[in-house]
Symmetry: C2
Amino acid sequence: MKTVSTVRSHGGVQGGYSHPSRETGTEMTFSVFVPPHAEGAALPVVWYLSGLTCTHANVTEKGEFRAACAELGLILVAPDTSPRGEGVADDAQGAYDFGLGAGFYVDAMQPPFAPHYRMWSYVTEELPALVADQFPADPARQSIMGHSMGGHGALTIGLTFADRYRAVSAFAPIVAPSQVPWGQKALGGYLGVDRSGWRRHDAVALIEDGARLPDLLVDQGDADPFLAEQLRPELLAEACRSAGQPLTLRMQPGYDHSYYFISTFMGEHLRWHAERLAV
Amino acid sequence: MKTVSTVRSHGGVQGGYSHPSRETGTEMTFSVFVPPHAEGAALPVVWYLSGLTCTHANVTEKGEFRAACAELGLILVAPDTSPRGEGVADDAQGAYDFGLGAGFYVDAMQPPFAPHYRMWSYVTEELPALVADQFPADPARQSIMGHSMGGHGALTIGLTFADRYRAVSAFAPIVAPSQVPWGQKALGGYLGVDRSGWRRHDAVALIEDGARLPDLLVDQGDADPFLAEQLRPELLAEACRSAGQPLTLRMQPGYDHSYYFISTFMGEHLRWHAERLAV
């Protein structure tokens, strides 16, 4: 692991790091905030998964998470959203919603994406092991959150590893990728046309198929331009209602899809995570 | 005035605006955060002046001021750092520390800068009038803060109009431009070689010449790469001591010159301003 930068902030250290990933076969970058802590302490870890077009840098610069993480004693890790670099396939037209910056947190099965696009295994296995090894982290206390495509990642990963992530929340997530254009393009392109393989990567389908969490927190702006076509939180609400899955879905009046929205509710999400990580 | 963008954040509205400036003869951009407030209320206004290379956007995206402004009921205005556009002179070598993005909050007297570089009059007269006219602002309750070159601006403007700004604070300010390379280049280039004209734009000189404020708050990181050569807070401390000017100068261990530093202490500065604006 290479340290790209470290800077003091809110009493802790905000770092940028890179490492050659076994899963993606590329150099991967990520950021970690370590709050002030006692020597030898092992701290809970919150994973933040980013949305389309983002890198680790967007939330690191605009997420306004450090004040709350410092107060609550939480490490926050922000991975990149796809492999990058020489030899990594991209969308044929260079679209923003597929390929580079749009890994959708799956292990791709289709050429030419299968060799490098392994974000599921990278985010759930390889990077957690590296973080546990290199930072004052307590692997027994992890939680996960994300935004938009990263909200999809947080929900599907959280639902799949319900014993590992003690809290799962999302900002404006893609809740049912199988039923919306962004998700259909991504799951089709990475996993192939057989839709049976998509259900493991669709939060609504996972809940329909029996996955459960103690609770779920979702914030969604009602002025989000992607609300009606791509995000469709009503599908999550209906799946949770049918399945008896507890869900706190808050429609936030006037908020859009940006970090101005995310940063507004970041502190509340981190407090909600901290309560569940303290146990 | 043209509204470039508005977005809901922390219960208020973060806007970006532009207008044709009479002072600079150019289109000027600025940002304003208006916190949640009662219909008809007139709110106190905090001015934030940015540093070299910045526009209004840096603090707007990375300053982490909205949570505190929303809680405290403060408007925050962030102007640009220089005129820009067709026909605006720049540093002959395109340097970062003079010309575009480096107006130093003076009215230039020297060719080719005199026609457009009128940031003193712009920030102290023209923009306050526009803000008072277009936003729910209380012109009787204003305060000013800034970073680096903008800290210089906040100190010199605050010391000059002690009856207008009820609180003055700075992050890593240039306290004595007449005595450091950034300032000598800027004041020489904009005001000319006669150093007597520089004293009105040098916080240490202003205090030596009798300017006074009820108090002053300055935070300075001790890992700031510009500390020893350009910022030199010890000159401010010495001038304040000699003059009996109250000063709270806090050296912050491990902090650098970035927004990771500024955002850490932004909430405390805004609270300090709010106390003085409430009276």
